[in-house]
C-alpha cells in the first residue's frame, strides 16, 4: 500500500447564515489561511491543491477553482476541482489523499466551500433530476431525503421521536462548537412540534443553510513532522456509489456506505466498530440520516438505531459519541460539510478538538455523502 498520509493542518471559517462581507473567493481564502497557519506552512510549501464545492448552480460560477486560485495565491500550482454534491468536501479529500499516497505530491491542500446564501438552494438541487423524468416534481434534497426516511420509518423503527433525539443531541453539541452558527438547545417535544417541511422532516430535523469554507493540509510521512508531531493518519478512506434508479435499490440500508465501510474497516483493521472507535462524525444532514448511518456503518444492527440513540451511547459521554461537533445541524455549507466532518474527526485524534474533545480519542470514524443519497463514503483516522 502506497505512502502513509496524514492530516497535518486544518482550518474552517466561522460559518454563518450569510456572509455579506466576503465573496465566495474571499471565504475560501479565510479557511486556507487558517489551515496553512495551523500546519505551520505557507502556500509555497504546498505542492498541489484540490478545490471542492457543491454544484455550479449553487453559486453561478462554473469551475470556480479557476476564480478561487487568485484569492488563495495558488497561481501556477496544480489545482483541480472535484465535485460530488453534498459529499464534495469528502470526495475532494479523497482525491487529495491519492495525490499524496500515489506520490504526485508531498503536501496537498484540500479546500471545500459553499456560499449557499447566494443561490436558490432547493431549486438548484432539483436540477439533479433528469429533465425528462421527474424534475418538475422534485423537491430539492429534502423531498427524497424525507421520502427515504418514510420508507425506513415503519420497517426499521426510525421514528420521528428517535430522529428528534438526534436533533436534541447534535443541537446541544453545537452549542460548544465555535464554528457552528445554529446554537439553540431544543427538546424532543419541540422537534416533534416544529413545522413540517417535507414530513416526516420538520424544521428542527433540518440543517441550516450556511456560508462556510474548510481546508486541510495532507502530508506524506516524510514531511508531516514540519507541521505537527501528531498528525491524524488516514488509515482508510473510500467513497462508493449506487446507480440512482437501479432496480431494487435498497431504501433501508445505504449499500454504498456499507460497502465503503467494509472496505475501510478492512484497511484499518476494524472488526468491531462500536467498540473500537472512540468518536464518530457523520454528515447527517437531516436527523433521519444519522439513524440510518448508525446501521450502515455497523454501529448497531439494522433496526437498532432508535435503541442506540435512546441508550445515550452516542452522546458526548456515551461509549460511542457521534457528532460531538453538532454535525451539519450546527452549520451546513454543503460542499464543505464532508471536509468539516473530517476536520472534526482529525482534531479529535490529534487531541485538540475545539468543541468537545473526547478524552484519549485515538480512532475516529468519519462519514460523508451526497448526490441522490447514492454517493457515500467513510474514513478511519488514527493518532
Amino acid at each position: 500500500m502506497g505512502r502513509h498520509v496524514g492530516i497535518v493542518g486544518v482550518g474552517q471559517t466561522h460559518h454563518s447564515r450569510r456572509r455579506t462581507d466576503v465573496s465566495q473567493a474571499g471565504l475560501v481564502r479565510e479557511a486556507v489561511d487558517r489551515a496553512l497557519a495551523d500546519a505551520n506552512l505557507s502556500m509555497d510549501d504546498i505542492d498541489t491543491i484540490v478545490v471542492a464545492t457543491g454544484p455550479v448552480l449553487f453559486a453561478a460560477v462554473n469551475q470556480p477553482e479557476k476564480w478561487v486560485v487568485d484569492a488563495i495565491g495558488a497561481q501556477l500550482k496544480p489545482v483541480v476541482r472535484v465535485t460530488s454534491g453534498g459529499g464534495a468536501g469528502f470526495a475532494g479529500a479523497l482525491a487529495g489523499y491519492y495525490q499524496v499516497a500515489g506520490g504526485f505530491a508531498d503536501r496537498t491542500l484540500v479546500v471545500a466551500y459553499d456560499k449557499l446564501s447566494e443561490g436558490a438552494l432547493q431549486y438548484s438541487i432539483s436540477t439533479l433530476y433528469d429533465p425528462f423524468w421527474g424534475r418538475e416534481f422534485a423537491v430539492g434534497i429534502m423531498g427524497f431525503s424525507a421520502a427515504y426516511w418514510r420508507a425506513r420509518m415503519d420497517a426499521l423503527g426510525h421514528t420521528e421521536k428517535a430522529a428528534a433525539m438526534v436533533a436534541v443531541k447534535n443541537r446541544k453539541n453545537a452549542m460548544a462548537n465555535p464554528y457552528a452558527h445554529v446554537k439553540k438547545e431544543v427538546t424532543v417535544a419541540e422537534v416533534l412540534a416544529s413545522k413540517p417541511l417535507c414530513w416526516p422532516i420538520k424544521l428542527l430535523d433540518a440543517p441550516p443553510i450556511s456560508d462556510g469554507a474548510a481546508a486541510i493540509v495532507l502530508a506524506s510521512e516524510d514531511v508531516a513532522a514540519k507541521s505537527t508531531t501528531r498528525p491524524a493518519w488516514i488509515h482508510g478512506i473510500a467513497y462508493y456509489c449506487e446507480a440512482d434508479n437501479a432496480a431494487e435499490r435498497s431504501m433501508l440500508l445505504s449499500e454504498p456506505l456499507a460497502i465503503a465501510a467494509r472496505h475501510v474497516y478492512r484497511a484499518a483493521g476494524i472488526t468491531n466498530p462500536r467498540r473500537q472507535f472512540d468518536v464518530v462524525e457523520v454528515q447527517e444532514p437531516y436527523t433521519c440520516f444519522e439513524l440510518s448511518y448508525y446501521e450502515s456503518l455497523g454501529l448497531c444492527p439494522p433496526g437498532g438505531a432508535a435503541e442506540l440513540i435512546a441508550s445515550g451511547a452516542t452522546q458526548i459521554d456515551g461509549d460511542i459519541p457521534v457528532n460531538p461537533s453538532g454535525g451539519a445541524l450546527g452549520a451546513n455549507p454543503i460542499g464543505a460539510a464532508g471536509l468539516i466532518r473530517l476536520i472534526e474527526g482529525a482534531t479529535q485524534v490529534m487531541g485538540r478538538n475545539e468543541s468537545h474533545q473526547i478524552k484519549d480519542a485515538k480512532l475516529a470514524l468519519v462519514q460523508s455523502g451526497g448526490g441522490w443519497a447514492n454517493l457515500r463514503g467513510c474514513a478511519v483516522l488514527g493518532a
Binding site: G2, L57, K77, P78, G103, D130, S220, D244
Partner: protein, 375 residues
C-alpha cells in the same frame, strides 16, 4: 519525495464514439455506456475487474446538477468507487493513475463525455469568469483566444494563411485517424472564408465543439502486461493553473503549460525533443502553436514548423481544432497518443517509444495537464 514502491500504471485500452457536431439521436448515457462497454474488448478484462470510475463532464453543459449522479449506471460505476473531476478528462486520468500508483486499486476506468450540442457553449465559458468585472463586459473564451492570436501574429509575423493551412491539415488528419464526423475537408481558403470569430481568428480557427465520449482503461503493471498487447506506461504527469485574470497572465506565453510540462518531464526523465508523438489540445489554432512552444516542441514563434514538420508527430488525430468534445478533449488526446505508441503501423510511425498527451481548460487556456507516455 519518496516514491519507491509505488505501482507503475499503464493505459491498457481506450474506446471512443465518433465525434460529431451533434449526436441528436443519442443521450449522454447512450454515448457513455457505449464506450464503457467497448473499452474492454480484447483485454480479457471486464467491468468486474474495475475497482473505480473517475469521470469528467460538466453540469453546465449537461444541464443538470451533479450530473455524474444520474449517469452512474451508464458509467459502469454501480457499487464501485466513483468520483467526478470537473475538469477535462485528462485530470480524471491523473486521479486514476495516482489511485493505482498508491496500491489501493488495480484497474480504473476513466470516462469523459460531452454533448455541447444540447447547450450554449458561450454560456459554458462565460459562466466560468468571475461575475463582477469580466462577465458583465462579455469577456470570455472568444475574446481571450482573439487577444492571444492578435499578440501572437503581431509578435511573430504569422500570417492568417499559414494558420488556415495548419487548420485545414488538422481536419484532414481527423478524417484519417480521428474518428470525427466531417462532411468535407475544408481547404485553407474555406477556413479563411469562414466568418470572423475573434479577430484575427476565423470561426474555423477555433476548436469546434462536438459531442462524444471516450473511455480509457488504466491498470497496474502486472495486469497491464496481461491485458494489453503493448502496455503504454504513464511515465510523468504535471498540471498547473494560471491566474484567473487573463490580463494578469504573462502575455504571449502559456506559463501554466510550461509549468505542467516541466513537472511531467522531470518525472519522465526526458524532454520534449525526444518525443515521437504529441497529442495536444487547444482553444484555437494559435493556441495550438502556443501549446507546442510551451511544451518545448518548438522555440517561441516557431510552433508552425513543429506543428506539421518536426521530429515529433503532432496531432495525428487532428487534435482539438476539428473536434473539441469539451471536458473530454484531453482524454481523447491520451487515448490517441497511447494508440500511436501501441499501434504505430496504423499511423505510419516508425517504432515510436515516447509520447506527450496534453489537455487544457479554462478561459484563455488557464489550466494545463501534461502526460508523458512510454513503451
Amino acid at each position: 519525495m519518496t516514491t519507491a514502491g509505488l505501482n507503475r500504471v499503464a493505459v491498457v485500452a481506450s474506446a471512443q464514439t465518433e465525434l460529431r457536431p451533434a449526436w441528436r439521436n443519442a443521450q449522454h448515457i447512450d454515448l457513455i455506456s457505449s464506450v464503457v462497454a467497448d473499452v474492454f474488448k480484447g483485454t480479457g478484462l471486464t467491468l468486474h475487474d474495475v475497482d473505480f470510475v473517475i469521470d469528467s463532464g460538466s453540469d453546465v453543459l449537461d444541464g443538470r446538477s451533479i450530473s455524474n449522479c444520474g449517469f452512474l449506471g451508464a458509467l459502469g460505476a454501480h457499487h464501485k468507487e466513483e468520483s467526478r473531476v470537473e475538469e477535462d478528462g485528462l485530470w480524471a486520468a491523473l486521479y486514476g493513475v495516482n489511485k493505482i500508483r498508491s496500491g489501493a486499486s488495480s484497474v480504473g476506468l476513466i470516462v469523459a463525455y460531452s454533448k455541447p450540442s444540447e447547450s450554449n457553449v458561450d454560456a459554458y465559458w462565460s459562466s466560468m469568469v468571475e461575475p463582477f468585472y469580466q462577465r458583465p463586459v462579455s469577456f470570455g473564451q472568444r475574446a481571450a483566444s482573439g487577444i492571444q492570436a492578435q499578440r501572437y501574429c503581431a509578435e511573430h509575423g504569422t500570417t492568417l494563411r499559414a494558420l488556415a493551412e495548419l487548420t485545414a491539415s488538422r481536419w484532414r488528419a481527423a478524417v484519417e485517424h480521428g474518428t470525427v464526423a466531417i462532411d468535407s475537408v475544408p481547404s485553407a481558403d474555406t477556413v479563411l472564408a469562414s466568418p470572423d470569430a475573434a479577430v484575427p481568428l476565423k470561426e474555423m480557427m477555433l476548436a469546434r465543439p462536438v459531442d462524444g465520449a471516450v473511455a480509457v482503461l488504466l491498470a497496474r503493471e502486472d495486469i497491464a502486461r496481461r491485458a494489453a498487447r503493448t502496455p503504454v506506461w504513464v511515465t510523468g504527469m504535471g498540471t498547473s493553473l494560471d491566474a484567473h485574470s487573463f490580463a494578469a497572465r504573462t502575455p504571449g506565453r502559456l506559463s501554466s503549460c510550461e509549468m505542467a510540462a516541466k513537472m511531467a518531464f522531470r518525472k519522465a526523465g526526458w524532454s520534449a525533443d525526444s518525443a515521437d508523438v504529441a497529442e495536444v489540445s487547444a482553444a484555437s489554432v494559435v493556441g495550438e502553436l502556443m501549446v507546442l512552444e510551451s511544451l518545448g516542441l518548438a522555440g517561441p514563434g516557431r510552433g508552425l514548423a513543429a506543428a506539421t514538420g518536426g521530429r515529433t508527430r503532432v496531432n495525428a488525430s487532428g487534435g482539438a481544432l476539428p473536434a473539441d468534445p469539451i471536458m473530454a478533449t484531453g482524454l481523447v488526446r491520451l487515448a490517441h497518443a497511447a494508440r500511436q505508441l501501441a499501434l504505430p503501423e496504423l499511423y505510419g510511425l516508425d517504432r515510436p517509444t515516447r509520447a506527450i498527451a496534453h489537455g487544457t481548460g479554462g478561459v484563455g487556456m488557464q489550466n494545463h495537464c501534461v502526460f508523458t507516455l512510454g513503451i
